[in-house]
Symmetry: C3
Subunit: 212 residues, 3 copies
């Protein structure tokens, strides 16, 4: 019996879209964006990485091909705006768990898109990272701050390892590759959050602490 | 008799390119960019939204297909640079009117491109917004400021409503759709400027005024 | 005998990728990025201009088609990180020379890509500038600073002139066009660095010095 891993990725993808949209709205609220700006922040954080991947791989962007992504991202954005309006705190634990599943799904989706486009390990690596972290980079650029992923998250490492695992196991079976990639990316991210892991960085003379 | 609405959009498109180029140069002058930087600011503000739309819809970018756009944008940039050099004020009223017509033309052009690519209402909505506001977002990123459209303009709302109107009326006739979309986008924008309308935004506790 | 100018551009392209990657890491070290962030900075500075060009011209991005670019950029990034870790100064003179050759190669590669895609002089001009300076613009956006090329470098002027020269000489022979474009771009850049040339800019009343 073959597990229906495509459906699993499809579900986690949408869970990720909701969670990423929430993080986009959070960044926008800090900048006092209006409701349109907040909706854009939710939308591009949820879909920007996938759109860049599809443009580079010359495919129709998923958000146009499957308009329900637009609705999931809009739902996440509206939820986050409602919380902001009432001054309620974000459900941090739930969002972190949703982001972790979403990161795994985005990494696997990116790697599979590269493999289907005939790319090798380097394409799978780059597209997994771009899909999983590209939306957050656009979010941070629009909010005029240095992208978090470049200085304080392990998300990109998690996505890259997940993408490589997907590529490596793809010859065995695409279901196995999907499950392995999902698990690797999600576990690395979860470990990063749980143990507050950070990648090393060079320190410049005369400056003790990071600026990020 | 069918109105030649294609020609109307073509004229307003170029009027918009000139007006958008002027706004790009204005943002660059504030940052003391050199003449090349100012020309780039004019060019990407005028054409950046359309290039992103065409890349996403997998069409040849209009600025390459019709090089006269390059000349109109360059003309607007040179005009704005000449004013900056002589310390003369920008003709604000004329530029605002030109921007309003341009916004309508850009929104309709974006929606029509999406419809011609087989997209539905969500594609028409997104591409109208992207075409009309994408150049301004790139302008603001290059000038290292938070994009205006996310916190203080109604431009995106105007473009989105114009795009939806274009989509809704397209089955009647493409001329009617063009005129309707143009009018909706331009009127919403004009009302926004005339009455200083802003979209609502959540306020965070402990902070009374927007940061934008 | 026809000179093998394709091989010459290929070599200089890779020299440029290494030098551009080093400049990306330098910008990231100033922001205290971690090792992943620094690798990304190296990679996008070296390849971002070419990826944007290929996406606009609807070609497969070179970094996916020829994965050795990834390795050259990674090599440059690792070298720059090693210097940063040990607190050693960057070999400024060597990097400047490598950047000058790379700028010429990137400008010629951009112009040739536009010519091969059937574009005219305006496409060759825009694609030469985009290829040679696009990576640096992304680098500066990620490091949250105003792009250098817009206010204090002659790189874009050099790339644009090189692109136009390539286009103008292409009907004679593609080898001649390559050599001419390379020489024009590299010489203008070298003169700009040697004589500290800057393009003129308008000054605003009440402000004496540039903000860049």
């Amino acid at each position: 019996m073959e597990l229906d891993t495509t459906a699993l990725v499809g579900v986690l993808d949408r869970v990720g879209a909701v969670a990423f949209a929430i993080s986009g709205v959070q960044a926008g609220v800090r900048r006092n964006f209006d409701v349109f700006g907040l909706w854009v922040m939710g939308l591009v954080t949820a879909t920007g990485g996938g759109v860049m991947r599809d443009v580079i791989l010359d495919r129709q962007p998923l958000v146009l091909a499957r308009p329900d992504y637009l609705l999931w991202a809009t739902g996440g954005a509206v939820f986050a705006m409602a919380l902001a309006w009432r001054g309620r705190p974000y459900p941090r634990a739930v969002v972190t768990i949703a982001e972790t599943g979403g990161l795994g799904a985005f990494a696997v989706a990116g790697a599979l898109a590269a493999i289907n486009a005939g790319e090798g390990w380097s394409g799978a690596l780059l597209m997994a990272i771009l899909t999983a972290t590209g939306g957050g980079v656009i979010r941070d650029l629009l909010a005029d701050r240095v992208p978090l992923v470049l200085h304080s998250e392990v998300n990109a490492t998690a996505a890259g390892l997940g993408g490589l695992a997907t590529w490596a196991a793809y010859d065995v079976s695409s279901s196995a590759a999907t499950l392995l990639g999902l698990s690797v990316a999600a576990l690395v991210r979860a470990a990063g959050v749980a143990f507050d892991l950070h990648l090393p960085r060079p320190r410049r003379p005369g400056r003790g602490r990071p600026t990020g």
